[in-house]
Amino acid sequence: MKARVYVTLKSGVLDPQGQAVARALGRLGFGEVKDARIGKLIEMQLADDVKDVEGHLKQMCEKLLANTVIEEYRFEIIQ
């Protein structure tokens, strides 16, 4: 079983990296880019026999993968 966890900055938290990327894209001629936000994708290979996989993923996010002061997360499970 696989899981994908997406961690992104909460809206309202300044993302200077994203701003720099948006500016760089603008310089490359992509004038349609108004804003960019950078996040993380964490792919995990999980054992197939996990009982409460959603509960465990939530705990993984809360305890380590995301800092919920500034970030939010979502995940998907791929059988």
Partner: protein, 230 residues
Amino acid sequence: MNVAVVRFPGSNCDDDAFHVVGRVMGQPVRFAWHKESSLGDAEAVVLPGGFSYGDYLRAGAMAANSPIMGAVKAFAEKGGPVLAICNGYQIACEAGLLDGALTRNASLHFECRDVHLLVEGKPTPFTRGIPAGRVLRIPIAHAEGRFVHPDVAALEKEGRVVFRYVDPTGGVSDGANPNGSVANIAGTCNARGNVVGLMPHPERASEALLGSDDGKMLFASLLAEMGRRV
């Protein structure tokens, strides 16, 4: 005063903190390795700067979950003084010892230079001995020091903003803010005041030879505080 300097893989200001406590302040000091689960007879703890665990995932995130942090949390809960410097501050926030988070500098640059700090807020073991209104000159060296907090007004009201970036005369301005921190915040403490975190490096400014010994005031304050308790 027995001091433990916690050493994580990737700490690089651990020797500086050890030097200041041991040689400059003349106090017994030892390293506590991140895999240890006890702080022994430590009466104060320093979480030093550096790049613990290579800043993997987020600065401080991995170190916050290392075995020694359980002991540091228990120590802090009993009121033991903890000084968290730079990466140590990031670790303390990630571990929940302090509120808020430290994010990428607004400039995107690694900012490495002297800054001026106003000492304010509630008295802490590390600032009680510093005269009110005193401006300290201490270096910073970080890429993730922009402090954010969901309720800065509450933090201010509780006197938990302990250090603020100011100009040399003590004025709060955008120009004095090296990283875009909300309200120019450079350092904070927990509700009880015994855990203090700051991005600047007092251990790098504790001898006149290094250009400033203002940082020594934090360690001197701690010593006086420990004497006061005895």
